[in-house]
């Protein structure tokens, strides 16, 4: 139980990953597959962000508090959340958006060609 209190974020990520994977593989509608893909990618983004997060930490920009006019800088590294994972995910978000855009463009092209987004109907039309 104690393990769950500390690591519940990973459990959540795994649940999201499974939802996304199921939607991508099991769903018949192509748009739903795209939604699954989005969930899948965002689960991984959450995984990275939550691994770098800390309770009570702040963004990794040199910061200070002002008490009675005296500036005290946070120089302890432990006061900041891990910036590396956030930087990585900034790139991953861009990649995710591009992939989703690509997938939706294809769905639109498929719809204009076959008049449906249901995979089984498309396969029937292809023959």
């Amino acid at each position: 139980m104690e393990w769950l209190q500390i690591n519940y974020n990973y459990l959540l990520v795994i649940v999201l990953l499974m939802i996304g994977l199921w939607a991508m593989i099991g769903k018949n509608n192509l748009v739903k597959k795209c939604i699954g893909m989005c969930i899948f990618q965002n689960a991984i983004i959450m995984f990275f962000i939550s691994m770098g997060a800390k309770a009570g930490s702040t963004i990794p920009i040199l910061n200070y508090t002002k008490v009675n006019g005296v500036k005290t800088y946070f120089t302890e590294a432990s006061m900041y959340a891990n910036p590396l994972t956030q930087i990585l995910m900034l790139t991953a978000i861009v990649v995710g958006v591009a992939t989703l855009g690509m997938a939706l463009t294809l769905v639109q092209k498929i719809y204009s060609e076959y008049g449906t987004c249901e995979e089984d109907e498309i396969l029937k039309k292809i023959g």
């Binding site: 990618q41 994972t85 790139t91 591009a98 498309i122």
Partner: protein
């Protein structure tokens, strides 16, 4: 200048792509020559890097001057350098080859095509050269996104086939990223060599094992190893000629290279073959991949589709060779990455030429092809011999190393699969060559008095030259096998193999 060669390999095509986008607005006709020039620059840088590596060992290039585990490092050893030369050479040849087919098939999308083409090559070269696990993911996605767009330009079922590839490719890339995340939690590093130096202390960790599982699953989906091969044949068959010439030889081979990197640089041969016992399962996958690929290829009427199934079989060769855990097997795999890249591009160019002349590539279109397209068909014979594994072409030597590796580690099923696959390849190519040579029925035997002439209509010279360069490269590579193996491959083989 000299120490900038590693980064130039990637930077030149990247900026060429930007220039191409602009040039395409004003004058689409200059796009192809510009792309060729850019890829030529990249190829020359790759060759310069290869000679530097063979003289002075590993090159470590710091992007932006940041020290390696903190900044991104470009790390070139003999393995990368060879794959870089192969990728940039194949890309250059296809760029020259592409001129006519692209004009014919993609009339108004010429500039888009070459921009995506050069960006795809950027992604592939970057994946090969980088020493940073996350940088690899980004470049993997660049290569993947551009290849989706290129494949979707095709005809018929191309949209649906590409959509399936988008879904599976994303699953593969995300699995890879998840594996990298798990390693980041455990080691706090993204530099592959750095992770490799930390991992031995974590040999018993479950997280490290699961990370390996995700990384492998990711690259196996990307390289279309059985049972993840479903997306490949459709996506490559319906693609435009020039796209399949580029994507089919390179995408899967670079994925195999990444698998080798993960196995032997990030993890170690000792951990893979002594600590975890995955070898039997992976060998079964490789054997089934070879057999399934070969038998499905036998069943195809469309020659391009047949070749896509042969790619699935070839992936089985390389995965099996790497997982035998012997130096000979790994040598065969590394050698086969180069050899297979060249012979696949040779054969796809031949098929592309036939499609260009006759509209499609089934057995019908090969009728009398020897009279009408003698040069193209001769290149087909060289490529076919290499695929079957006849000396002195390079296909023979890679099979030789793979089989001797499998013999040392007693993987007899793998040897049998390799031999069956060679036989099937022989049947396939003899069938094509027979159609091309002897298809005339008795009544059609040319009467010396009548003027029954088959029109001479060989491929244009711009298509024949790259085709023949790749065909001759197959023979040259076969003749210099000893040189390549002792000079570049042997120094980089990791310790801990049989």
């Amino acid at each position: 200048m000299e120490q900038q060669y590693p980064v130039l390999i990637v930077i030149i095509p990247m900026f060429t792509a930007m220039v191409l986008t602009l040039a395409g607005w004003f004058k689409p006709a200059v796009c192809q020559p510009l792309a060729v020039v850019g890829l030529l620059g990249s190829f020359l840088s790759a060759v310069a890097t290869l000679t530097k590596v063979s003289a002075g060992g590993v090159i470590s290039y710091r992007l932006g001057g940041w020290e390696p585990p903190f900044g991104i490092e470009y790390r070139v050893d003999g393995l990368n350098a060879l794959v870089l030369v192969m990728v940039s050479l194949v890309a250059l040849l296809v760029a020259i080859f592409a001129r006519k087919p692209v004009e014919k098939e993609l009339g108004n999308k010429i500039s888009n095509f070459y921009t995506l083409f050069v960006l795809l090559v950027t992604g592939l070269l970057g994946m090969t050269i980088t020493g940073d696990a996350f940088n690899l993911y980004v470049l993997l996605e660049i290569a993947a996104l551009t290849s989706y767009a290129l494949l979707a330009m095709g005809r018929g079922r191309a949209y649906m086939a590409t959509f399936n590839y988008v879904i599976l490719g994303t699953i593969g890339a995300c699995f890879y990223l998840f594996g990298v995340g798990l390693l980041l939690i455990k080691t706090g590093s993204l530099n592959m060599v750095d992770i490799g130096s930390i991992l031995p202390q974590l040999a018993g960790s479950q997280t490290v094992l699961i990370a390996f599982g995700f990384l492998m699953a990711g690259v196996w989906i990307k390289m279309a190893l059985f049972p993840f091969h479903g997306w490949l044949p459709n996506a490559y068959t319906y693609a435009p000629t020039a796209t399949s010439c580029l994507v089919a030889p390179l995408m899967t081979k670079v994925s195999v290279y990444i698998m080798l990197r993960i196995m032997f640089t990030v993890y170690s041969a000792d951990w893979i073959f002594n600590v975890i016992q995955w070898k039997p399962v992976v060998m079964i996958l490789a054997v089934v991949a070879i057999l399934m690929g070969s038998f499905f290829a036998l069943a195809q009427r469309d020659i391009k589709r047949m070749l896509t199934y042969l790619i699935v079989a070839e992936i089985g060769y390389m995965v099996g060779g790497a997982w035998t855990g012997t130096t000979a097997g790994l040598t065969g795999t590394i050698y086969h990455i180069m050899a297979d890249g060249l012979m696949t591009v040779c054969l796809f160019m031949v098929i592309g030429s036939v499609v260009y002349r006759k509209g499609k590539a089934n057995f019908e279109s090969f009728k009398d092809a020897f009279q009408s397209m003698p040069w193209t068909m001769s290149a087909l014979i060289i490529g076919g011999l290499s695929m079957i594994g006849v000396p002195p072409t390079c296909g023979f030597f890679s099979k030789w190393y793979l089989i001797s590796g499998a013999y040392q580690s007693s993987d007899y099923a793998f040897i049998v699969a390799l031999l069956i696959s060679s036989l099937v390849n022989a049947i396939l190519f003899i069938r094509i060559v027979e159609t091309a040579f002897f298809s005339a029925t008795p009544s059609e035997i040319p009467d010396p008095h009548s003027h029954h002439e088959v029109d001479y209509a060989d491929s244009p010279v711009s298509m024949l030259i790259p085709m023949w360069v790749s065909a001759l490269a197959l023979i040259a590579m076969g003749l210099y096998t000893g040189e390549i193996v002792t000079r570049w491959i042997q120094p980089i083989l990791p310790g801990g193999l049989i």
